[in-house]
Amino acid sequence: MANGIVDKVKEQATSIWGKVHGSQVAESILRPGSPFKKGYSDTPRNRSYVIMNNVLYHLHPVKVKRHGVRLSYTLCLGGISFFLFILLTITGIFLMFYYAPTAEAAYVDVEALSTSVAFGSLVRNMHRWGAHLMVLSVFLHMSRVFYHGAYKPPREFNWVVGVILLLLTLLLSFTGYLLPWDQLALWAVTVGTNMAGFVPVFGDQVKFALLGSVEVTGDTILRWYVLHVLAFPFIIVIFMAVHFWRVRKDGGISGPL
């Protein structure tokens, strides 16, 4: 009796799923060759279509060198850096809902995040540790590229773009450092910007432009907030696009050694 009902339910579910899966809506969403499409079969042609008929074609070619797929070759460090950037964007957008970039509100908001916002503490922690991990993974990615000699022709310029990306990563991390507006933020940024003041000739001007004042003030928060959530992400996305595009145009992954 019970088995009969289960079978019937299963049958119904399968039939409904079949209709949904084969419907015009599903067909219109999934392009030919999608592994989620009804009746997908694992053929060489479909394996090509998965990439070719997909927005992923902007990132990946249809085929890659066999040694490049081995985890031990790249350690996926570039991919990890990129993915951490995406995670930081997501968690950062969440944090923006609860944060006002003023001297009065900033610290209170960050404190409230840990006590009165669901998952607030977790997301803030993810954002902070994720940022440290990203700086680390970008450094390691650069080292991996160096040790493989992967900056050699025709990839010279992509290495230059990579160094710019490292600089932008550091700037993103450093501008975010100030935003909690606690003692750690204030004085770390003071020390950091004092170093910028040692730039020869126009050191004071550089420092003034960075801080919006001769020293760290409430105005600096707004300035660094805009840089952190808008300006630098905008610039880094452009450079990342060039970086990824050049990886493919310069012949895909380097090597084998």
Partner: protein
């Protein structure tokens, strides 16, 4: 054959053996040329073989080409006469009756269908009979100049058209009626229309001086083309790229990336659940903490600042070495090899620099206490707020 890497050959042989249902050893032997090829799979040979099997188009017996255009006076004369003949013959008898293309093809060493097409096209363009053209192509008569009645395509090098000036006495009157494209050194960029009705400026004077006649031989609506050159099959089908060992991005790479993505997310969540991000008391301009430290990635610099003049350590080192120097690496390191054994110096330099930076950073993070003086973390604890909540030596 021998330039295919061993493992690729092996893989190919295995796939082929599976498809044909014969032992791998046999396939391997076939592929390396030690055994006759199994009958049914002639088309399944590796690429390199196919290239060599392509029938070679004999360039020697092919039509005269642009670069062969006569340069000497005598040759110009011949060309001009041919031209006149062709013009007189007209297109009426272009079909040329029955021609044995098979026999001609065997003689020329090229496929009959190709030969027929090219002969017919040339006959149509020049207005000569197909039989005549064929005979020329097979070398039974003196090769003719490119059919100059054709309004030269824009790209046709004007230099290759014979300059008629020195031979003007030798050729008959109707040669003078040649279209100006061939009769005068037309400006290199002139389009066919422009050469027929020369602009009244500059280099067109020479053309304007002689009577201009419209080409009569080319019937209305016939698109005339000149064959510039015949490229040997080998020249365009040569496979230059080394065979590389590739796999499909889906699923091989994508699965790996997805796994890494999940792993990173999991690691970050676990880290964030265990470790609380630091949040000290509210910013206070009057209470300077001792020591004041920069974020960890700048602490190596801060450490340098405690040894050197700030102009050197704070600016010169990070901007010159850190940025310009790093960007310049590919342009300074001219060594083309990427084998570690060939680039010991580069690897040593990079490792040295990285180790130096790491040492400075670790010193700055762990071994600097109040007043940025040396301390031992296992004696006085850690003076670094990002770490001190979760690394404890006591």
């Amino acid at each position: 054959m021998s330039d295919i890497p061993e493992h690729l050959l092996r893989r190919s042989a295995e796939a082929k053996a599976k498809a044909l249902g014969i032992p791998v050893e046999q396939v391997l032997a076939e592929m390396t040329g030690e055994a006759p090829v199994t009958a049914m799979d002639a088309g399944d040979q590796p690429k390199v073989e196919t290239v060599e099997a392509v029938p070679q188009t004999p360039a020697e017996t092919s039509m005269p080409v642009a670069q062969d255009a006569p340069q000497t006076d005598a040759a110009v004369e011949v060309a001009a006469e041919e031209q006149a003949e062709a013009t007189a013959a007209g297109p009426a008898d272009g079909a040329g009756g029955e021609i044995d293309y098979e026999a001609a093809a065997a003689k020329a060493g090229m496929p009959a269908s190709l030969l027929q097409r090219s002969v017919e096209a040339k006959a149509k363009a020049s207005g000569a009979s197909a039989a005549q053209v064929l005979a020329e192509m097979l070398g039974e008569e003196a090769p003719s100049a490119p059919p100059a009645t054709a309004p030269a395509p824009e790209s046709a090098p004007a230099a290759s058209t014979p300059e008629p000036e020195p031979t003007a006495d030798a050729v008959s009157a109707d040669v003078i009626d040649m279209p100006p494209a061939a009769a005068a050194p037309a400006p290199a960029t002139s389009a066919p229309a422009a050469s027929a009705q020369p602009p009244a400026t500059g280099g067109a004077t020479a053309v304007a001086a002689r009577p201009i006649a419209q080409p009569e031989a080319v019937p209305e609506g016939v698109r005339t083309q000149r064959l510039l050159t015949v490229v040997k099959a080998n020249a365009i089908q040569q496979v230059k790229a080394e065979p590389t060992d590739k796999v499909s991005t889906w699923p091989h790479l994508m699965i790996m990336e997805f796994a890494v993505l999940l792993g990173v997310t999991a690691l970050l969540i676990v880290l964030s659940v265990i470790l609380q991000a630091p949040l000290l008391e509210s910013a206070n301009f009057t209470a300077t903490p001792n020591p004041s430290k920069a974020p960890w990635y700048f602490l190596g610099l801060q450490e340098l600042l405690s040894y050197f003049d700030p102009q050197i350590a704070g600016v010169t080192v990070p901007t010159i070495i850190g940025l310009v120097g790093f960007m310049a690496i590919p342009y300074v390191d001219k060594n083309p090899s990427n084998k570690p054994s060939d680039r010991k110096f580069a690897i040593f330099m990079y490792t040295f620099f990285m180790m130096g930076s790491a040492t400075l950073t670790i010193l700055g993070v762990l071994f600097r206490g109040p007043g940025f003086n040396f301390t031992y973390p296992w004696v006085d604890g850690i003076f670094f707020d990002d770490l001190k909540d979760w690394v404890n030596f006591e």
